[in-house]
Symmetry: C2
C-alpha cells in the first residue's frame, strides 16, 4: 500500500525515520529530497515542522485507541492486562508514532483541536475500563488514582521498553507478552478473579 499523495509520502517517511532514529534528528529537508521533491514542497501540506509531528500524533492516537479497544474486546476477562498489553504492543509496533504522541514539546495538543479530541478519546477508553474494573460503587478519587496508576504503569513500561534502559538492566527479554503478564500480575492490577 504505497502512499499516493505527497502528504502521505512525507508522513510515512517521517514516521519510519523516527521509528529508527528518534524524532530529534529528523530533517525536514532530507525527507523532502528523499521523496524527490524540493525542500519546500512539504510545507504546502504542513504549516511548519510542528505540523508534521501533530499529524503523526493524530494518526498515532487513532491507531492507539483502536489497538486498545481490540485488545479489551479479545480479553474481557482481564481488561487491565489487556490494556497494558495493547499499550506496549502499540509502542513497540508503532514506535514512530509513539515517540511523538507523548512529547508535548513536539506536538502540543493545547492548540490543535483535532489532536485534543483524539488524545482525549484515548484517555476515555482507559477511564471506562477502570470504571468497569472497580465497579459502580467506586469513589471518584479511587477511579482517578487507579486510572493514573494503570496509565503510569503502561506508559512507563512502554517507554522503558522501546528506548529505555530496561532490557539493558534486566537482561534480554525472551517473550514480551510474558513479561507484560508478569508485570500485570506483580502490580496488583491484573484481574482479581485468579483461576
Amino acid at each position: 500500500m504505497a502512499p499516493k499523495t505527497l502528504r502521505e509520502t512525507v508522513l510515512k517517511a517521517a514516521v519510519d525515520y523516527i521509528a529508527e532514529n528518534g524524532p530529534d534528528g529528523l530533517s525536514f529537508r532530507q525527507v523532502a529530497l528523499a521523496a524527490g521533491v524540493s525542500h519546500q514542497a512539504p510545507y504546502h501540506h504542513f504549516s511548519d515542522r510542528k505540523g508534521i509531528f501533530e499529524a503523526i500524533a493524530i494518526e498515532g492516537h487513532e491507531i492507539f485507541t483502536a489497538t486498545m479497544l481490540g485488545s479489551i474486546d479479545a480479553h474481557p476477562e482481564d481488561p487491565a492486562t489487556a490494556l497494558l498489553d495493547a499499550y506496549v504492543e502499540f509502542a513497540v509496533n508503532h514506535r514512530g508514532h509513539f515517540r511523538v504522541m507523548f512529547r508535548p514539546d513536539l506536538c502540543s495538543a493545547t492548540d490543535n483541536p483535532e489532536l485534543l479530541r483524539v488524545s482525549g478519546r484515548s484517555f476515555e477508553v482507559l477511564v471506562e475500563q477502570v470504571h468497569e474494573i472497580l465497579g459502580p460503587k467506586a469513589s471518584v478519587a479511587d477511579i482517578r488514582a487507579r486510572a493514573t496508576a494503570m496509565w503510569s504503569l503502561a506508559h512507563g513500561l512502554a517507554v522503558l521498553l522501546i528506548d529505555g534502559p530496561l532490557e539493558h538492566e534486566i537482561g534480554p527479554i525472551k517473550s514480551r507478552r510474558a513479561l507484560v503478564r508478569a508485570v500485570a500480575e506483580q502490580s496488583g492490577m491484573a484481574a482479581k478473579k485468579r483461576r
Copy 2:
C-alpha cells in the same frame, strides 16, 4: 553557590534551560554567549553536544540515587511508596536532569563507562528494595517482574507528570504526595502492612 569554572557554568545554564524548555531547543552557542564566552569555548570541556547531555545525566543519576536512598531511609516501613515518592520528587525538582537521563538518543550509556556505572547503581538501589520487599524466598522471575513493574509505575508517573498530559486529563493536582500515595495504594505495591 555560584558556579566557578566555565564547565560548571555551562552545565548549570544548560540544566536550567532544559528544565524550562526541554532539551531539544537547547542551543550550545546561546549558552556559551550567555556565559560571556565564545561559541566554541564549551567544546573544550565537552567533546560534543552529546558530551554535555552525558555530563548532565551523570550528575542527575548521582542526585537521583541519593534521593531514593534518603527516602527509603526515612520510610523503612513502606519502601515501595518511598521509592515511588522519591522518583517523582526527583523528576519534579530536577526536571532538567530527569529529562535528559532517560533519553538514550541524547546520552547513550553504552559508550560512556561513567554513565554506565551511575545508571547501573540507580537500578541496583531499586532491585535491592525489591529483594527486601519480596523476601529471600522470592524467585528470580518474580523479582525481575516486580522490579520492572515498580520502575515502570514510577517512571510512567514521573514522565506523565512533568511533561505529559496527566494533569490535563485528570484535572489539577492539589497534593502531589497524596496522589503518589493513592497511586501506590491502587497498585498493589505499597507495603502490605496496611494500618
